[in-house]
């Protein structure tokens, strides 16, 4: 008795091929895993687990903006992102060590930093401003008849966030001006230094200072003097990225461009702040 040859249904063959293709494709297009570092202003919230930034946290608005912005970028570049909440000073070392792929803080692009990390295209723009206790500022103004400014600081104690550009600036002028430098790991720490009389002035980014001032219920603090955007104290703000990862930088830049072009970025900022940052 002759044996009947095996015959296969075309649909079944196609189905098997489609499944095999899908499996192959899924392995190829597996989402990239990225870790994004978000700056928090208060040491109490560093290493906070999950997406749980409380609205009353000092500087929560900027952290939330950075968080949403990070999510949006990750979504646009098809990456799965894990967020880490860290102090400003930890971000660049973390990127250098490979712990973070994206660093969201108020990063000005300076030659020193460019040696350590890469930077995205401009995200927003920033300047710096002095903050002090009202009891410190008002007598000074009354005495000289002129507002205090970065250039008029002589023989005083000034606090800045560790690793910030303000800290670098102060280090450069401290000897010449007879300044005593005090460092804090977070912006909230600078206010503590003022409050505890460990410093007379804090030099912060203007947006950081504003966010802390408007959350300060004691009303002890005030802006001191005009804003400064030259001498490395202002300019464009960027996302920090690992060096040698041009592909990532390129895709992040494309995502930033589309997020800005379609108005998503502006909506995120407006959701948390009463003004635009760019």
């Amino acid at each position: 008795m002759p044996t009947r040859p095996d015959r296969y249904s075309a649909n079944r063959v196609l189905g098997v091929l489609a499944v095999a293709f899908a499996l192959l494709l899924s392995s190829l297009v597996r989402a990239v895993e990225l870790t994004a570092a978000i700056e928090v202003y208060d040491a109490a919230y560093v290493s906070m687990p999950g997406n749980a930034i409380p609205p009353n946290m000092p500087g929560a608005e900027l952290a939330l903006i950075n968080e949403e912005f990070a999510h949006e970028i990750c979504r646009r570049i098809g990456a799965r992102c894990t967020l880490r909440y860290v102090a400003f000073g930890e971000i660049i070392p973390g990127i250098e060590e490979g712990r973070f792929d994206l660093g969201f803080g108020n990063f000005l692009r300076t030659p020193e930093r460019k040696k350590r990390v890469a930077f995205s295209d401009t995200v927003w723009r920033s300047s710096s401003r002095l903050v002090a206790l009202r009891t410190t500022v008002e007598p000074l103004v009354g005495k000289t008849g002129q507002a205090v400014s970065v250039d008029s600081l002589r023989g005083v104690r000034v606090v800045a966030v560790d690793g910030s550009q303000q800290q670098s600036f102060l280090k450069n002028i401290a000897g010449e001006r007879g300044l005593t430098l005090v460092f804090a790991t977070t912006p909230a720490g600078t206010f503590s230094a003022l409050r505890e009389d460990r410093a007379d002035f804090a030099l912060l980014s203007a947006i950081t200072a504003y966010l802390l001032l408007q959350k300060d219920s004691t009303r002890q603090f005030a802006f001191a003097g005009p804003a400064v955007s030259d001498r490395g104290l202002g300019g464009s703000v960027h996302i920090a990225l690992p060096k040698q990862r041009d592909g990532l930088r390129h895709t992040v830049n494309q995502a930033i461009a589309t997020i800005r072009a379609d108005g998503t970025f502006q909506r995120i900022v407006r959701h948390y702040l009463p003004l635009g940052l760019d």
Binding site: R125, A206, Y210, Q214, A227, V228, S229, L275
Partner: protein, 420 residues
Amino acid sequence: MLRERYNSTQVFTLLATSVALLFAIVTLLLAIDQERVLESSERLQSRTVPEIIRFQRLARNLDQLRQEGERVFSSGTSEGRQQALFLTMLVASHPSILEHPQAATAAREAEAFLVETSRLATENPASIAARYPQWQQFSKRLNLQVDDILVEGANLATADLGAVAAAMRLTRYKLMGATVVVGGLLALLLLLLRRYLLRPLQRIDHALSTLSVDQSAPEFPDTCLAEIHAVEEATKRLHGALMSNDAVRRELEVLANRDDLTGLMNRRHFMESAKAELRRAQRYGRPIAVAIGDLDSFKNLNDTYGHDAGDVVLRNFAGLLAESLRESDRVCRYGGEEFAFLLPESTVEQARVLLDRFREHCAEQEIWLTDGVLVRVTLSVGLADASHCPIEIALQQADLALYEAKRQGRNRLVVASDAG
């Protein structure tokens, strides 16, 4: 003076090169304009539009500063006033304001005024109303600044758009110019083609189609194209060849149709002509007569004076025939000293009169031989009507009549009917 002529390949190559060169120049000019438009567009996109956006943001920030300043005055609580003041100071700290000197000055002065207002209000809440008119001046100044910045930003696009418009206008003029030049060049090309190629070819075509031996040699106006001139010359040579061939043909025809000795028609040609003439006469019912004449005693003359003398007599006789007969009459050397006559439009009677007179004339004719001997010859003629019978029959009848004329004593004419 020999006119200089040009090779058409060179001429058309020159024209084609000129058109190609012109086209290349126009393309280059348009490419330059296109590059200019692209540069302006690129500048507009990469520099001007971001700059305009920067101006818009600056204007927006200044306007927000003004609004927050208003809030400092309108806020009912010191807390609200303080919040508005912080925001005012933050906006005044924005790099977009700091880098614009006029905006920075206006913002700094407004901020200082508001800080002072806030301080005084803390000490004396009533003071805030007193300072409001002064704030309105600041507010107005900020408003004007916003308008100026918006206009300044919008004007940035004007230069680039103007450059694009100017380049496009220039492109349009160049295109129009190029169209006119190319059109003119094409018209010139067509004119030159018509004048130096088509018209000469038409003239040559006409000359060739009418080329015949009846026409004079074709004449052509002078041309500057070597090839056309060559064809015209060839046409002229062709006409010359036609004429030459025709002359040869005529000569051959004469040789074929004439008797060598007398120059009269030969018998074959006479018979062909006679048949055609008879058909015509019989078709239209016209009279026609034939005759055969024979020189009397010609054998004796030959025997006496030799054949050369006979030839002289025959040639003289043929000359006499040519002088005496009508244009329409035909005569041939029928054989030896016999001659056949065809007399169209002549009745037998009319022919008899004509031939009899010729016979008498012939008898009187003196013929000098080469050796000075004078001879005279007489002619016997047999005449017949050919109006109603074929030429062969008519000639037979004439021959019979000739025989009768000989029998009756020579030097006479006998009509076939008389011969009985």
